[in-house]
Symmetry: C2
Subunit: 69 residues, 2 copies
Amino acid sequence: MTTTTYTVQGMTCGHCVSSVKEEVGAVEGVTGVEVDLPTGRVTVTSEGSVPDESVAAAVREAGYEVVPA
Amino acid sequence: MTTTTYTVQGMTCGHCVSSVKEEVGAVEGVTGVEVDLPTGRVTVTSEGSVPDESVAAAVREAGYEVVPA
């Protein structure tokens, strides 16, 4: 199991959190997504490793941006 | 046709706007709902008059509050 944390900017409310969870949760290999709204921290759990770009693309699909580490 | 404007606090993004439009739009007699996110102004168009309390209840249902005039 792999856990990776990203910082996402632009989320303002619970609806935003739900959108990010839904899109990132649909990425192949992802088994769990936790979002902390105040910090924008998104913790992704996966089986094996998931490309950062796949997660970033899913975040963009939801309408937000991953802040480069 | 009656047009009434309310101020709603707590909306932060387009998802919030959609939630308010959906709930208020479902109130009996309401024929249109426009929301201006920056100001929180919600303009409700209806056939005949709709009780303010019905609109306020729908706004609460969406998770927000009408600011008393």
